[in-house]
Symmetry: C2
Subunit: 344 residues, 2 copies
């Protein structure tokens, strides 16, 4: 047994293939993180690696399948078994390198929700220059009520403090204007609740342009807006970087300039790479579940495993539960008849 | 009278001041666009300029005021009078350099909606490298029903074809996945309606990362997601460009590289500047209303006036009305009891 936490790793789903996934697993294991990898032993070629146990698994859930239906019927699929490993105490956290939908469904069914949490939310650290911003929900809930947004604020604040080490994280609510009444009705209502709430440092509404700006450490929104925004940021950063590269190739002097700037730009490129931060974390469950970026390289896979291990080491789940309990952020559940339908 | 169209220009609201606004007006007038400028004659200093008439106006609507209330009570405010100029036939189009809310409110009250249009939408050309994408709604309607999204598709397609000269524009619906059922219920429903509809070339759902990618010529979403997305793109492009500048300053070799690249990057900077495209257009009305980018320079002001003039020249309103009529996209109004509440 490795000295650090043990992570159950879904051996399928890495777009770049088994070799890249195995290399990522090796990088993490070399740092003392125990790994149980659910995948085909031969293709993974990890047998005998210190700290890594391969649990032979041939079944997988593909990106083209309906996640909820697939998770319910394919009990032997790698991501379902990896989640069960956590639920049954053989591993401390689960990591899947891809298929966000299947991982969310498997974790939501397989790991119970924290007391008072109506909807788990998917959070990411935004790949922006400089300061890291925790952003949620990026896709677990396309529709939300005000109480859900309020809970996301508490979930995000707890994670930011416990895992990212931000002291008294500033929490912002994404909207179309800074004034408290701006935005959809549920956003305005969440603003009102958070403004009179305790336990988080609520800075009010933030706008799209503030997301990269770091006016808040945690930014909360619904899963539709969050998912669109995350992909838009990635797309825009890529488009701008691509256009700059094109400008550099437009004439010999520019090309020389680009060459001279390359070392300095390398750091920025790493900083902006979506897999630098380890992927998305499903918050609000009684266990740690991380979804890596689908196109992650080995370092990206290792980062996802490291993030999961770190969550275990700092007891992110326990600290989140404590914040929810102390702040009373979960009480909304009792007021709502709709909460029951979330029970799976 | 100038040979071209006449544009009623709100003389207040340019963040950079009257001089910048006046200079923008001069640039547009020099190209044969007639201008009626509503503002303080002395500060504007435009008297005697060929093609420009200053209509003395001292009252304005500030950014801090509630737009709807202000428009209803301040009948003498510059933006209200500029809109009335169009409604009463003295000008062909209205342009305001700032206060999106007040301009939207004034135009929606002052210019009637096209037959069948339930909700006017605010559209922008996205400042992305390469191809221009028309994006709507960026803030007129924070909540929408499926039928509104469908109408936005027709409004956007008509504008793209008539004003931007895109032949058979491809229209995409912004969502969290490409599959037709993905996203909020109203998005899934709009996808179904557009898929069986005629008159627009519907390419299905597009994701956040596709927005800068140019997989569609027109991208449709609700005003909340659209507003957040637009500001996020601007913020991200600025953050990336800023980080690149910082990288260039990080050591002498990089600095030399940055210097050599500067001429090539200048074109890109202009391409990414939010005011290059002339601002946002309110679609779905029986008149042309353009809102410039608040922080526009003189060239940005001129671009907003040019955009408005071009809309008049190509009869954007008439062609939009024709597309709506031929496609039957406006029929949803009759089916909905809620349409009445939009009437002001």
């Amino acid at each position: 047994m490795a000295p650090g936490p043990t992570v159950a790793l879904d051996g399928f789903g890495a777009e770049l293939g088994f070799d890249v996934l195995a290399e990522g697993a090796r990088l993490a294991a070399a740092e003392g993180i125990g790994l149980r990898v659910f995948g085909p032993p031969k293709e993974l070629g990890l047998d005998g690696t210190d700290g890594i146990e391969v649990v032979p698994t041939e079944e997988r859930i593909g990106n083209e399948e309906d996640p909820v239906a697939a998770v319910r019927t394919k009990k032997g699929a790698s991501v379902v078994r990896a989640v069960a490993d956590v639920a049954e105490g053989r591993a401390d956290a689960v990591v899947s390198p891809g298929s966000t939908g299947a991982t969310m469904a498997a974790a939501t069914f397989g790991l119970r929700r924290l007391k008072g949490v109506q909807r788990p939310a998917l959070a990411v650290q935004l790949p922006v220059p400089g300061q890291r911003v925790l952003f949620l929900d990026v896709g677990a809930n396309v529709e939300v009520r005000a109480q859900h947004l309020v809970q996301f604020a508490y979930l995000g604040a707890a994670f930011s403090e416990a895992v990212l080490g931000v002291e008294r994280p500033r929490v912002g609510l994404l909207s179309v204007g800074e004034e408290s009444g701006k935005g959809r009705p549920e956003v305005a209502e969440a603003n009102a609740i958070l403004s009179r709430g305790e336990g988080v440092d609520f800075v009010g509404n933030v706008e799209g342009r503030d997301l990269p700006g770091g006016t808040a450490d945690v930014v909360v929104t619904d899963g539709f807006t969050g998912n669109v925004s995350l992909k838009l940021m990635e797309g825009t950063a890529k488009a701008v970087a691509g256009a700059i590269g094109e400008a550099a190739r437009s004439n010999p002097l520019s090309a020389l300039g680009g060459l001279l700037m390359r070392p300095a730009l390398g750091g920025l490129r790493r900083e902006l790479a979506p897999d630098t931060t380890g992927g998305a974390i499903l918050l609000g469950l009684r266990g740690v579940a991380v979804v890596g970026h689908g196109s992650s390289g080995a370092e990206g896979i290792a980062n996802a495993v490291r993030l999961a291990a770190r969550c275990v080491e700092v007891d992110a789940v326990g600290r989140t539960a404590a914040l929810l309990r102390d702040s009373g952020a979960g009480r909304g559940e009792l007021e709502s008849g709709r909460a029951a339908r979330d029970d799976a």
